[in-house]
């Protein structure tokens, strides 16, 4: 796998941590999925079933789901920057620290390319960090997509890939969960007038 692919998927995840606009973050995750999808298609040359599944995954993750989230964003306009959001530099510091710590602590999982393995583990950690440090509801769905892209990247580097049945099942689950997250995001905005998830803190004992 080329270094360009690794850099693009890594930097796009960091971009999601930093950017303010939800539409830009959606575009970054769409780009990340597109690059990974193209890589999967290039690796699948000659194997028709694998090629078909790689195409379905690309369409779902790089086109359909970003389009769905973009539709949610267009229906739920935010008046300005959310007060509960921390400074971009603070977010980046926390997310990078989490990702680097996880990469350093995670034992070797047996992939041939160490750089791919580290990037994949880093993406999983960054996806979870995105859900923690970003307040708009849409970003938590994007965090899930970044985690899934991390696992997808690792699967592309695995000696025999992930079984196609599992790839298809994952895409199906992803579509369902992101659709439900989109519906929630719209409802939260309708109820609170904003998609700020820090307002969801009434249930305590």
């Amino acid at each position: 796998m080329s270094h360009a692919v690794i850099w693009i998927v890594g930097l796009s995840a960091l971009g999601v941590v930093v950017v303010r606009r939800r539409s830009v973050a959606i575009a970054l995750v769409g780009l990340q999925s597109l690059v990974l999808g193209a890589q999967a298609i290039s690796q699948a040359a000659g194997a028709s079933t694998v090629l078909l599944v790689a195409g379905i995954v690309l369409v779902a993750k790089a086109i359909a789901l970003p389009a769905l989230l973009a539709a949610v964003v267009s229906r739920t306009r935010e008046p300005g920057r959310m007060a509960s959001e921390r400074h971009p530099l603070a977010r980046l510091t926390v997310a990078l620290a989490v990702a680097l710590a996880v990469v350093a602590l995670m034992p070797d999982i047996g992939l041939a390319q160490v750089a791919v393995e580290h990037t994949a583990v880093g993406l999983v950690a960054l996806g979870i960090a995105i859900a923690v440090v970003r307040r708009p509801a849409v970003f938590q769905a994007l965090g899930f997509l970044v985690v899934e892209n991390g696992i997808y990247l690792a699967a592309l580097a695995a000696p025999k890939g992930f079984p196609v049945f599992i790839e298809l099942g994952l895409v199906f689950d992803l579509v369902v969960v992101v659709s439900v997250a989109g519906a929630f995001s719209a409802k939260i905005h309708e109820e609170f007038g904003t998609g700020d998830t820090s307002l969801l803190g009434d249930l305590r004992d």
């Binding site: 995670m106 999983v124 979870i128 696992i151 519906a183 004992d205």
Partner: protein, 490 residues
């Protein structure tokens, strides 16, 4: 014939949920829903009987397995599913507000309910870790909007928390499955690599650290969905904010179903770790869950929130029983699983008349229900009495079996700690039971309406069911099903 039934069991509720979308009236939707639920439960019960009769020699298809464990868990999911289906029309009729547009709210509820039930019925049947993961993840997608069904702000918060926390937890488990797959790939590199038997057969080829990493990630990820402490944050909120029939499904069917996946992982992958490590991790989750839950059982919580913390306590008991890995404890786990599901479901069904007659019961603990409604009080009494472990509750016998199994397995300190926590939990729930039935000043009796009558009938039926389970406490230890569970859920 068997394979047809295996396919039909999850397919029937899916078909029913879709068919309901064509219903023209609420009554028509109710009829299709109830008919579909009865047919599904009958098919699932037949399949559970087939699984029990073959527990000594499990039936394996290309993608499914029918063993004693599938039979036990399938039976529990079928019973809780059909009971929740039966009380759902009554709940919906008495509900004014919903997350969905009023014209479609009922049919959306039924669609979500049947998809959720279908995924739950399929989990015990599948013979593959990755497919089981996909189905567990599908339960989140199907049930998250049901959790927020009432449309209240608090319900939105609970549904969102449930969706986000369990989804991210399950991605951690997926990472562990991937680590396991890579470790086992030299023996397959296909879907069958993650079949339960394949994992058990090839686990010795995994390095100790790869096996431990995979195990920790998978069990840690599944723990978020089971609601084991300390990754249980969604559980009290989702259980207390969901519609009562869905709360019953979450507590009585979803949590145990995911426990079965964790149990199969322990049995198949655990021996590749240092001896006792896998069991110790389960015991750690068990003690942590009991320690977190018990203080809340002493607090004056609203009825459904109290039941939610009781779920945390009982999932901890199940983790301990599985971790003890002893025939007595295993018999206790099977009994506890069924007894908890019945008692907890009844408790949530009692919340239907309770919330209909006392809107403030969503915020405050119930008081003096015995003076207000004999039927509701009967349900609350049977449920809380059984959940506290008051004899002759099956949970009294199952907890005894689990503790005895722990002592027999050489885990004396853990068993003594667990016994102390269970005793404290019993006192907390006993206090809540007395206050709930007899406390406070209440004078205006409720009308004995449809929901009260339904809950009263369920209380009697489920009370007898609980007594029947208590009788099973004498039959289970040493039975073929328990021997098979000890021999391996593979």
């Amino acid at each position: 014939m068997t394979e047809g039934l295996v396919i039909a069991v999850p397919a029937l509720p899916v078909a029913c949920g879709l068919l309901i979308q064509f219903a023209r009236t609420p009554r028509g939707a109710d009829r299709i829903h109830l008919l579909g639920a009865l047919v599904t439960a009958t098919a699932a019960s037949l399949l559970a009987i087939v699984a029990f009769t073959h527990s000594a020699d499990p039936i394996r298809g290309t993608w499914y397995v029918l063993d004693g464990a599938s039979g036990a868990f399938l039976a529990v999911v079928a019973v809780i599913g059909v009971l929740s289906a039966l009380v759902s029309p009554g709940y919906l009729t008495g509900t004014q507000h919903s997350l969905f547009a009023s014209s479609r709210a009922r049919t959306w509820y039924y669609l979500g309910f049947h998809l959720f039930w279908a995924a739950l019925l399929a989990v015990p049947l599948v013979d593959n870790l990755a497919v089981a993961w996909l189905l567990v993840e599908a339960t989140t997608g199907a049930s998250a909007l049901l959790v927020a069904y009432s449309g209240r702000r608090s319900a939105l918060e609970a549904g969102w928390k449930y969706l986000v926390l369990t989804t991210f937890g399950l991605t951690v488990a997926l990472t562990g499955i991937f680590v396991l797959y890579v470790g086992l790939a030299p023996h397959g590199g296909v879907l069958g690599t993650l079949d339960w038997q394949s994992i058990a057969r090839h686990r010795s080829s995994l390095s100790r650290h790869a096996a431990l990493l995979a195990f920790l990630l998978i069990i840690g990820g599944l723990a978020t969905k089971i609601g084991w402490a300390p990754v249980h944050n969604w559980l009290p909120d989702a259980h207390s904010e969901s519609p009562p029939p869905i709360s019953a499904m979450l507590s009585g069917a979803l949590l145990p179903t995911v426990i079965l996946v964790a149990w199969r992982v322990l049995v198949t992958l655990g021996p590749a770790l240092h001896p006792g490590v896998g069991d110790a991790i389960l015991m750690g989750f068990g003690l942590a869950s009991l320690s977190i839950a018990v203080p809340f059982l002493w607090r004056p919580l609203p009825w459904k929130r109290l039941l939610a913390y009781s779920s945390l306590e009982h999932m901890g008991v199940l983790a301990l029983g599985i971790g003890f890995a002893n025939p007595l404890a295993t018999a206790g786990v099977v009994l506890h699983l069924a007894g908890h599901a019945l008692a907890k479901a009844l408790g949530f069904y009692a919340a239907i008349p309770l919330l209909q007659h006392q809107a403030e019961a969503g915020e405050h603990p119930p008081r003096g229900i015995a003076r207000l409604s004999t039927g509701t009080a009967t349900a609350i009494g049977v449920s809380l009495g059984a959940l506290s472990g008051l004899p002759p509750s099956p949970l009294f016998f199952s907890e005894l079996l689990i503790l005895a199994g722990g002592i027999a397995g050489g885990h004396l300190v853990v068993a003594v700690l667990a016994a102390a926590l269970l005793a404290l939990g019993f006192l907390g729930l006993a206090h809540a039971l007395i206050e709930g039935l007899l406390g406070g000043e209440q004078h205006h009796r409720w009308q004995r309406g449809r929901s009260v009558r339904a809950v009263e009938r369920l209380a009697w039926a489920m009370g007898f069911g609980l007594l029947a389970l208590s009788a099973c406490a004498y039959l289970l230890p040493g039975s073929p099903a328990v021997r098979m569970l000890m021999g391996g859920l593979t």
